[in-house]
Amino acid sequence: MQTFFVILILAFGFLITFQIAKASEYVSVLRGEEKARKQTNRINAFLLLAFLIVGLIGVYYCNERLKGKILGEAASLQGEKIDTMLYITLAITGIVFFITQILLFWFSFKYQESDNRKAYYYPHNNKLEIIWTVIPAIALTALVGFGIYYWFKITGDAPKDAMEVEVTGSQFKWEFRYPGRDGVFGKKYYKNIKPENNNPLGQLWDDPYNHDDVITTELHLVVNKPVRLIIGSKDVVHDVGLTQFRMKMDAVPGTPTTMWFTPKFTTKQMAEKSGDPDFVYELSCDQMCGKGHFSMRGVVIVETQEEFDRWVISQKPQYAIAHQEQAPQKTTQPADTTNKATAVVAEIKK
């Protein structure tokens, strides 16, 4: 019933607007079209100027209302560079924005039709045109220069001491694999994926490097320690989006990608900084991946080295979980398996 009324009111509004519009057409014919046209011309010219002024106030108001909700301090060293680049671009484009918009609406108002003015025949001026080709070219060269400089810094090789974590997206969740004590990821093959057998990533169990690999549902990182993410996907294209770190990289099935960054603040520090005790780093899927795309959320925890070490030790290697389920009598002590695996690795290394 309510919807019906809304539609009725809308239809009524349409009708009234239309009648007024039609009437105004008749009136203008009666009053002399030329006179009526000049009057609407003045009204529209005034409205253009008013739009400029109100619009600029609106831009200011919008900024006041929303500036507290965006960005915040970047939580990674790379993010700082991205923010710097963002502010450089904002400054340059901001200047251009205000100058051109003001000129556009001011000219429209100032040069509205008037009986006393004749339009000025001004087809071209090479000097002017060269000036406004060269100036944008210089400004853009600067932007390209800064941009590429930072781009190579960010996308260059990760430092040697970076920790590595493998991130795998699938509809609609994230899984993280840590290489364990040996620091090497075991081999995997997608046809081995059997979540029901506790092998969600398709690890090859006869590869000893796999025996200490840990799979988790939260991404734990160490503050001030560079981390290199090796990103993949099981099914469709996903994207690892880390807003607070300003990082993003697609997860493509069949084509692993990488990105690295250095977290600057632990989750706790960030909570203090932002004055939000519940603060949490979130990992969002930024590439359309199906009906659960909007809910494909991961949690990132940045902590100190000690906290991290304590956490990682408490995690059970996937090898142990898989084999415990299959043959619980064999591996009653998961820690043993880890030690065995490490021993195997040590032997291979010899």
């Binding site: 919807t3 349409f14 607007t17 239309f18 007024i20 519009a21 057409e25 609407t40 529209n44 739009f51 609106g58 831009v59 929303l66 909700k69 991205i82 680049m85 963002l86 671009t89 484009t93 251009v96 924005f97 051109t100 918009q101 556009l104 000219f107 040069y111 509205q112 004749k118 000025y120 001004y122 045109e129 944008p136 853009l140 932007l143 390209v144 941009g147 781009w151 960010i154 699938s170 509809q171 099981k234 099914d235 469709v236 294209v237 989006g241 990082m247 993003k248 697609d250 493509v252 099935p253 069949g254 084509t255 990608t257 990488t258 519940d278 603060f279 930024d286 590439q287 009906k291 909007f294």
Partner: protein, 607 residues
């Protein structure tokens, strides 16, 4: 009639063409309703067919955006009426995720391709190219008719995909595989996507038939004296648009065909290493590259945005010059910048792929080429500003929409400088920032160009005027609304809110724009309602609008205003007029305007 086999120079071709058509005119064969209005080969009628089909699509595409904005603005709230209309897609009066993704996919597809490509280029290239070049019709009126009917067929297939039981395609308008290739991963990727691909293939055929026609008409069928440098900027823009389409649509088609193969024939162009958790099944496909599709898609996808905006740029240039009663400033620079944009359009596609794992060195090349586009764009903006400067501006609805276009093009163009820079793109990629950016610069701005064109050439199309008061209401509400919708959306993007999220309530860091999203939804409903008002004005005025009584109502120089008020098939009743000057002699030597057909006077200044 074939121009290609004529070995002689161009004026002769035109003359022969004339004679042929004049004969044709004398023995005018009887036109039935079907040949006149349905299977018409008259370029003007075909243009109107494109426009009206485009309007129908715009209502559908716009309505879809209102529906998903309801979900975005009021997540969790129920709208029982939605269940009445959409059944299980809106169970309990709430838009279901599958439905939401189908809506955004179809919104994008419909508006980018069916409205702003076919509806815009199709309408104005058909209407204006013969009229402004001085030709009786297109180079091949029959292919031109086929172009429309292929578009119609594409529309029928696309509409039918809305009604299949698994729903229409819902993988986003870019249709990235593997999501779009795997029915098991996504309901919309079942029959809906096959229909989507077939519809798009038909659409590409339509677009190629049209484009080839536009190019050959502009190159071969200009009237005597109409050298390329005397063409109005509308024609230059439509010319470059057609070239872009002809060179890039085939690449898109190849991408779609490979996707159809992957879907139905078991090939592995795009598929590799896939395990689908819903079915617990690993697919046999290995060795394909999902990124290959993105290259093929964006090789059209990027030129596509220029296919959308160039016709608007052309029409805005024309409308601004006519209504400020001044020549367009820097005609050659305008043509040159259109040319530069056309060339660069082919060289920047990978800026959509900075975060796909693209080689960073390659990325840096694309940054350079992308930001280069800002230079010709800046030239255009400064030239439009200088065209207004010291003019004597008449604010018709068309002028207002043109000024609005320039304003939006500046705002949206500048945010492109952020996104084109790969460093910043890492943060802003696939957030609401990019949504705001391309809606302003490509969506709304192109619509403004299209509106300017409709208001300006409506008298030529139908011999009647649109109602001005409704035109002014339409402009002001749309202009204010467009900024209110998309300006604050940039802030959401800066905060990292990803695009294509239908509900932010599960997110700690994104769920802080509740009020803003409500406001945007309410404004978008108002703006949509005002578009309906425009459409009403359009159809009402076709039949009941104020009649045009003057052959040249805007006091314009170009050739279309030398035809009768309601031109028949063949456009000019007598000979096609000869052209003696460029299209922009406004305010010259104390005269308000000098039509292109007027010979250069003795001692007249050269432009």
């Amino acid at each position: 009639m074939s121009n290609e086999i004529n070995p002689h120079g161009q004026p002769e071709i035109v003359t022969r063409h004339d004679i042929h058509h004049d004969e044709h005119h004398v023995h005018h064969h009887k036109e039935t309703f079907i040949t006149k209005y349905i299977f018409s080969q008259d370029h003007k009628t075909i243009g109107k067919q494109f426009l009206i089909t485009g309007i129908a699509w715009a209502i559908i595409g716009g309505l879809f955006s209102v529906l998903f904005r309801l979900q975005l603005g009021f997540p969790g709230q129920t709208f029982p009426i939605l269940e009445t209309f959409f059944g299980r897609y809106a169970r309990g009066g709430q838009i279901q995720p599958e439905f939401y993704y189908a809506l955004i996919t179809m919104h994008g597809t419909v508006l980018v391709f069916f409205v702003l490509t076919a509806g815009l280029s199709g309408t104005f290239a058909n209407l204006l190219i013969p009229l402004q070049c001085g030709a009786r019709d297109m180079a091949s009126p029959f292919l031109n008719m086929l172009s429309y009917w292929f578009f119609f067929l594409a529309s029928v297939v696309m509409v039918s995909s809305l009604f299949v039981s698994t729903g229409p395609a819902s993988g986003g308008w870019t249709m990235y595989p593997p999501l779009s290739a795997l029915g098991a991963a996504n309901d919309g990727s079942k029959l809906g996507t096959d229909l989507w691909l077939v519809a798009m293939a038909l659409f590409v055929v339509s677009s190629l038939l049209g484009g080839l026609n536009y190019i050959s008409t502009i190159l071969n069928m200009r009237t005597k004296g109409m050298s390329m440098t005397r063409l109005p900027l509308t024609i230059w823009a439509l010319f470059f648009t057609a070239i872009l389409g002809v060179l890039s649509f085939p690449v898109l088609l190849s991408g779609f065909i490979l996707l159809l193969f992957d879907r139905n024939l078991g090939t592995s162009f795009y598929l590799s290493d896939i395990f689908i958790s819903q079915t617990g099944q690993a697919l046999p496909n290995e060795g394909g590259s999902a990124i290959l599709y993105q290259h093929l898609f964006w090789f059209l996808g990027h030129p596509e945005v220029y296919i959308i905006i160039l016709p608007s740029m052309g029409m805005v240039s024309e409308v601004l010059a006519v209504n400020s009663r001044k020549p367009i400033f820097g005609y050659m620079a305008m043509v040159g910048s259109l040319f530069a944009i056309t060339i660069l359009a082919f060289l920047v596609w990978a800026h959509h792929m900075f975060v796909t794992g693209l080689n960073p060195f390659l990325g840096s090349i694309f940054v350079l080429l992308t930001l280069l586009i800002a230079v010709p764009s800046a030239i255009k903006v400064f030239n439009w500003l200088t065209t207004l400067w010291r003019g004597n501006i008449r604010f018709t609805p068309a002028t207002l929409f043109s000024i609005g276009f320039v304003s939006l093009f500046i705002s949206g163009g500048l945010t492109g400088v952020f996104l084109g820079n790969s460093t910043i793109d890492i943060h802003l990629h696939d957030t609401k920032f990019i949504v705001a950016h391309f809606h302003i610069v490509m969506g709304v701005a192109s619509f403004f160009g299209m509106f300017a064109g409709v208001y300006h050439w409506f008298p030529k199309m139908f011999g009647r005027y649109l109602n001005n008061t409704l035109g002014f209401i339409h402009f002001w509400v749309t202009m204010i609304g467009a900024y209110m919708i998309f300006w604050p959306m940039h802030y959401e993007g800066l905060a990292g809110v990803p695009r294509r999220y239908l509900d932010l309530s599960g997110w700690h860091n994104f769920n802080k724009f509740v009020e803003l999203n409500k406001m945007i939804t309410v404004v978008s409903i108002i703006v949509f309602a005002v578009q309906l008002l425009f459409i009403f004005n359009f159809f009402y005025s076709i039949f009941k609008g104020r009649k045009v009584r003057h052959q040249n109502p805007w006091g314009a120089n170009t050739l279309e205003w030398t035809t009768p008020i309601r031109p028949g098939h063949g456009n000019w009743t007598g000979e096609i007029p000869e052209v003696h000057r460029w299209a922009y002699d406004y305010g010259k030597d104390g005269r308000e305007f000098i039509p292109q057909t007027e010979p250069i006077g003795k001692g007249e200044g050269h432009h």
